[in-house]
């Protein structure tokens, strides 16, 4: 059995990142080539310089692979990103309907147990808001097979960017209507800014996590089918 010195290992995060962006059929050769050159450099110029070289190569390779992905599958990426937005809109609409339906149909029971209602309203909606982007990222990534991370990165950047624009708009609106500073306006944070802050900074990250999970799943399946 082959044993390797832990000192001669390339940076794990860089290896993981390169693995995420390489096409399935090239993954083995690219990782092997990088490892071979890294080992040669580490024995010749030292571990620090080899690790620096590995990071430089990884960043350049990922940038190149993203550009190539956009060039070869621009339509697939565009369609999946638009699909992701439609899915987000659809899921948002359905969850609103579900909450309204519960309140209308089971209103008397809800008001009889106000504590439980408040608990589910606060945590249930929060969990739904956290799970929804992750699910969308997962689905977009599954559909855009081969370009998973590029599609989910595009979606998360657009998602964050659009939400950011809405957040700025909301801040200006609240400031103009209720006065500055906006954080002193009662209920403004919980009613307006909190969902938008969540959508600007947390949701894009969750979309990416969903995308990474789906990519890992797709890669494992591709590896099994190759063998």
């Amino acid at each position: 059995m082959m044993t390797k010195s832990p000192l001669m290992q390339p940076p794990r995060i860089a290896v993981w990142l390169v693995n995420l962006f390489t096409p399935y059929d090239q993954s083995e050769s690219i990782q092997g080539d990088l490892l071979e050159e890294f080992a040669g450099l580490a024995s010749k110029s030292g571990r620090v310089s080899a690790r620096r070289w590995y990071w430089r190569q990884s960043v350049k390779s990922i940038a190149q692979l993203i550009c190539t992905g956009f060039r070869v599958a621009s339509w697939l990426i565009a369609v999946t990103v638009v699909g992701g937005f439609l899915l987000a809109w659809g899921l948002g609409y359905l969850s609103e309907k579900a909450i309204t339906g519960v309140l209308v149909n089971y209103g008397s029971q809800v008001y009889a147990h106000v504590d439980a209602y408040v608990f589910w309203l606060i945590y249930g909606v929060l969990v739904e808001r956290l799970l929804e982007p992750m699910l969308i990222g997962f689905i977009v990534s599954r559909v855009s097979k081969g370009q998973e991370l590029i599609a989910t990165i595009t979606l998360s950047l657009l998602w964050g960017g659009l939400s950011g624009v809405f957040l700025i708009q909301a801040v200006i609106q609240v400031g103009r209507n209720f006065g500055w500073p906006v954080w002193a306006v009662p209920n403004a944070f919980s009613a307006v800014f909190e969902p938008l802050l969540l959508s600007t900074f947390v949701s894009p990250l969750l979309v990416l996590i969903g995308g990474v999970v789906a990519r890992k799943h797709n890669a494992r399946r591709a590896l099994i089918s190759q063998r």
Partner: protein, 156 residues
């Protein structure tokens, strides 16, 4: 009865008959017409089915030819770095090789897994007959374009 044809249409028909549209740049240059829709589609057709090599593609194919049987990611990258003096990423090499393989200019096969690569196999590349023809065509085009240029002579 003769069929009336508008002068522009008539001019265009003759133009088509002479097969000048095969060289749109000439048509634009000699004033026989501006960049019309058919030239536009011709240019799109050329771009979609381009049978010439880009600069980096040319360099990669030449590296494969120099390396012969030893051509795989690491050696190709090092050969380019050594001879061209520019650091290229392994991702750029594989993206180009993948494109060349899709065009049929390059063929690849997997070697045996080796321990220094963590049990991963090498992917060897070789230039196909079609790729050889493409590199010859590009080389001839470059030779013709540079022939007689003083600036090229001063560099060589």
């Amino acid at each position: 009865m003769t069929r009336s044809v508008s002068p522009r249409r008539d001019q265009r028909l003759h133009h088509d008959d002479r097969r000048d549209w095969m060289n749109p740049s000439e048509c634009v240059a000699n004033g026989t017409g501006s960049l019309t829709l058919e030239y536009f589609f011709y240019i799109v057709y050329l771009m979609a089915n381009r049978d010439y090599l880009g600069e980096f593609e040319h360099i990669v194919v030449l590296a494969l030819l120099r390396l012969g049987e030893r051509a795989y990611g690491v050696t190709v990258r090092q050969e380019i770095e050594l001879r061209v003096g520019r650091e290229v990423s392994i991702g750029a090499i594989y993206a180009t090789l993948d494109r060349l393989e899709a065009k049929g200019y390059v063929k690849s096969h997997l070697g045996d897994p080796t321990p220094e690569r963590g049990g991963r196999s090498k992917r060897f590349f070789r230039v196909s007959a079609k790729g050889m023809a493409a590199v010859n065509r590009s080389h001839r085009a470059l030779q013709r374009m540079t022939a007689g240029l003083a600036i090229v002579r001063s560099y060589s």
